[in-house]
Subunit: 241 residues, 2 copies
DNA sequence: GCCGATTTGTCCGTATGTATC
DNA sequence: CGATACATACGGACAAATCGG
């Protein structure tokens, strides 16, 4: 394993911003000073700073310095963040999760399903529909299609816990990246039947394509959430004009 | 201006992925081959590849190569993308935009407003409420607070067009980065009164903090959108366990 | 199982350009 | 103008993973 110096530096500086050691609107030590501080090359420092800028913790200003633009006083909402499972989120937010498996079947991708999911026509897929409850209130549904050959031995019992835990733990698979599209749509009759929408007639829909470390797409999932159950944090950089 | 070789390479490879020259699931030429192809150093190639990986176009695999994981057959939805103004989006999607200014006033940030917006207590702010209509249908509202000293000469007439165009054009300001939080919430009476919600009782809320190139926070905006008017694309990378 | 070639991952040192003060 | 700071680029070195002989 390489040292991954830049990641340690990234975490260290980020913590110092979050705990106020590097104050909001102040400047970080210069790259040369950080080089001496951490005893590494300027490249590693720059890599860590680039990550911090990507996450909107800092704003590098040519000729001036690197300014801290993250205000710890503004707290993030508590919803989904990053690539997290329902169980992990439940643990983080401290509620009791419950998953109900409503459907578990093998299907073969036809034209329509292939167009929807992005899997090749003829792929053997495992189709799973689950509902998620937090403290007894059903707040979301997950409709997933897994590439069957990538999830051997999957059972409804496993699905009721966590598919990711099974894939990463038992199968030793590595999840790499997921591309997600979030929209808000009208609630369907199925939504209203399965979820406790409390009268809401719209839901938040997140469609995601997930790839493993081999670059194989192993999952397409459509998550439908009750309003106020999801939040998404996002930083945008305006391109030069 | 520096050459920005890596950006040209990034765009070139990205286009070749989108137009199918580099096919989904295939491998890019190796970094050494790309170095020869573009006549530059490996560092520049790697920087372009890192950006493509960040955007989930490719997945680098140590010891194997860089796999293309973006499928051009899966098209993105057409909503907000990146940091874009309402007018820019209207132009891109081909509808006729109309902005109505409902409020335009100067305020001083008290404790509550400071906590909400992230501006310092006592800041002189310009408070603006606007509604946005697409082809005659009011689809969203924007409630913004600008740091007054950063937007000198702002008038309701300018606000009715585009504040960004004024800032970037007339004032020569550079918008740098914006941090946005998206949630779905119940519609308020004001939402129902101002927007044409077509019976929907939930709205998509995007709260954003925007910084200029000097690292000064110049704007806090709460955008409330009718369902189906917004989409957000997002890539997540699962951290190593 | 081992070894070597290939490929990506990490790190370093240096040089030059550009913006700020 | 010079000093400082960030931006870009290059070249070299070694580590780690993969694959084929």
């Amino acid at each position: 394993m390489p040292k991954a110096v830049f990641q340690d530096i990234y975490r260290d500086i980020r913590e110092n911003i979050e705990n106020g050691t590097y104050r909001y609107q102040s400047f970080l030590p210069s790259e040369n000073e950080l080089t001496q501080l951490y005893g590494c090359s300027r490249s590693s420092i720059r890599r860590a700073l680039a990550m911090l800028a990507q996450d909107a913790y800092v704003l590098p200003q040519q000729g001036k310095g690197v300014r801290v633009i993250r205000n710890p006083a503004i707290t993030d909402p508590q919803g989904y963040s990053g690539l997290e499972t329902f169980g992990e989120m439940a643990k983080r937010l401290g509620f009791t999760p419950k998953t109900t498996v409503l459907k578990f079947e093998k299907v073969v991708a036809g034209d329509a399903l292939a167009a929807l999911t992005g899997f090749a026509v003829g792929s053997d897929l495992t189709h799973i529909l689950r509902s998620r409850a937090a403290d007894g209130v059903t707040v979301s549904t997950d409709e997933s299609y897994y590439l069957s050959e990538s999830v051997p031995g999957l059972t409804p019992e496993i699905v009721a816990n966590s598919v990711y835990a099974y894939l990463e733990g038992t199968l030793g698979m590595k999840i790499a990246t997921s591309r997600r599209i979030i929209t808000v749509e009208g609630a369907t009759p199925a939504d209203e039947q399965i979820m406790d929408l409390d009268g809401f007639n719209a839901v938040c829909v997140m469609r995601s394509h997930t790839f493993d470390a081999d670059g194989i797409m192993i999952e397409y999932t459509e998550t439908r959430q009750k309003p106020e159950a999801l939040s998404s944090v996002d930083t945008a950089v305006r391109p030069a004009r």
